[in-house]
């Protein structure tokens, strides 16, 4: 275990190397590029035993990674924004094929107009592709979530996307601790699928299916995605037992036990939100930071359990749900809590779009305005 001062993309690449990935395909896009550059360096220096394949587009990236996964490899790729959108078709293929690919998506606004900075429109737009979606709020969380994502993805046979904010985390320097290789190996044993594509087998994959079979496959994926929530909670606890590190299960709430105001957000905003919660506490408001760690499956059950009667839930989205008030988290939080308890009040706002800075002072101000609106 060693402490280092480095970027979020370095934390990601170091974890991927430690996860002993067999196959990586990547195509450069800001702000992801330095992940794939570092992995290419590791492969060139012989520090990474897996194959590194440079391809001509993100569509080809996901096609290559899906094929390698079907052939029994532990696979990785990284992308951002337009690159993720270009992969969209094959994202469905990967989840439908039940291929446990892990991908880092360094969150970045989508065109038009052109914008390089962080918001969650890219990943939120992939909500219904059947991928698990994690969000990270620190470099340490990025590093640790890579192992968790492989563990869970390979167990439930669903691909996983690890999101973190472009530049705010990908390029900023923060301290984090790596893990001894033997601890990583204890948590993450080699990938041994019970089936893989092989010339001697002679079968095929993803072929045409009749409606009854097709719907059975897709309904199973929907059910298994919901069931993944319990696996994520369990494996996060196992990781904590082994390493002492904890970033939350489906969500993370760590504030006062008698809290009745909850500030819900995901990504780097959730780290800044801790300071906003403290500012509200100093004003006599019993506020708690509610960090969404997993966006898919949506942490509906964790949310229902976390909120006491008469709670006020303030939802901060770094995305826009066009044609609907606020963003995706607000919609889903309302949906998850509908009929749960009519005393719980919910309000929300979309902000930080296109990388607009979100200091704690601004978040505190917006939280107070939302609380005022709930009166």
């Amino acid at each position: 275990m060693s402490k280092r001062m480095d970027t979020g993309n370095s934390a990601c690449a170091l974890a991927v190397k430690a996860a002993k990935v067999d196959f990586i395909a990547a195509y450069p896009i800001t702000p992801q590029t330095s992940i794939s550059e570092k992995l290419a360096d590791y492969a060139a220096a012989g520090e990474l035993s897996g194959v590194y394949l440079p391809v001509e587009s993100e569509h080809s990236v996901m096609s290559a990674v899906a094929a390698a996964s079907a052939a029994g490899s532990r696979t990785f790729t990284a992308t951002s924004s337009q690159g993720l959108l270009y992969m969209h078709e094959i994202l469905h293929y990967a989840s439908g094929g039940r291929l446990p690919i892990v991908m880092a998506n360094v969150n970045r606004a989508v065109c038009a107009p052109w914008c390089l900075y962080a918001d969650h429109q890219d990943s939120v737009s992939q909500r219904d592709t059947g991928w698990l979606q994690f969000h990270c709020a620190s470099h340490q969380e990025i590093y640790d979530t890579i192992f968790l994502a492989y563990k869970v993805a390979e167990k439930v046979k669903i691909p996983a996307m690890i999101n973190y904010d472009g530049f705010l985390l990908s390029h900023s320097m923060l301290s984090f601790e790596t893990l001894e290789q033997d601890l990583v190996d204890q948590f993450l044993t080699p990938y041994r699928p019970d089936w893989k594509l092989h010339p001697q087998w002679g079968g095929t994959f993803g072929n045409v299916a009749a409606a009854a079979e097709y719907s059975a496959y897709r309904n199973t994926l929907a059910e298994d995605t919901l069931k993944a929530a319990a696996v994520i909670e369990e494996e996060a606890r196992n990781y904590q037992k082994l390493t002492g590190r904890w970033h939350g299960g489906m969500i993370d709430v760590q504030g006062p036990e008698d809290a009745d105001v909850f500030l819900m957000s995901m990504g780097s905003m959730a780290a800044e939100m801790e300071l906003a919660a403290e500012a509200l506490q100093a004003m006599g408001i019993k506020a708690d930071n509610l960090k969404v760690r997993v966006y898919r499956p949506f942490p509906a059950e964790a949310l229902r359990q976390a909120l006491p009667a008469h709670a006020k839930l303030l939802v901060f989205d770094r995305n826009l749900a066009y044609g609907h008030e606020g963003g995706a988290l607000l919609m889903e939080a309302r949906s998850a809590l509908y009929n749960r308890d009519e005393t719980v009040k919910i309000a929300g706002i979309s902000l930080g779009i296109g990388g607009i800075d979100l200091p704690a002072s601004l978040l505190t101000e917006k939280a107070l305005a939302l609380l005022e609106g709930l009166k």
Binding site: G97, R98, W195, G203, F205, N207, Y217, T220
Partner: protein, 86 residues
């Protein structure tokens, strides 16, 4: 449904797509007197219904695409309208 593997896998089996021969509007008929046995029809047939050994055609699965007749250099294969056949 419960016995399905979790991954969408399939293995080729004879007739997995049903009796596709019923789709045929024209059937290929080989004239053995003209056939030189070059096997181009066997290579070109997308359904694999022409036997390599005796060039007999499995009409249960032949869709009548006509590729064999088009490619035959000896013009030994004629496409005959199903209604006119026998």
């Amino acid at each position: 449904m419960n016995n399905l593997p979790i991954n969408p896998l399939s293995c080729a089996t004879e007739g997995a797509g049903g009796p596709t021969g019923t789709w045929r509007s024209h059937r290929p008929v080989i004239d053995p007197a003209k056939c030189t046995g070059c096997l181009l029809c066997w290579i070109w047939c997308p359904e694999g219904v022409i036997a390599k050994e005796d060039r007999s055609i499995n009409y249960d699965y032949c869709k009548g695409c006509g590729l064999c007749a088009k490619e035959c250099p000896a013009h030994a294969i004629t496409m005959i309208k199903e209604a006119d056949h026998e």
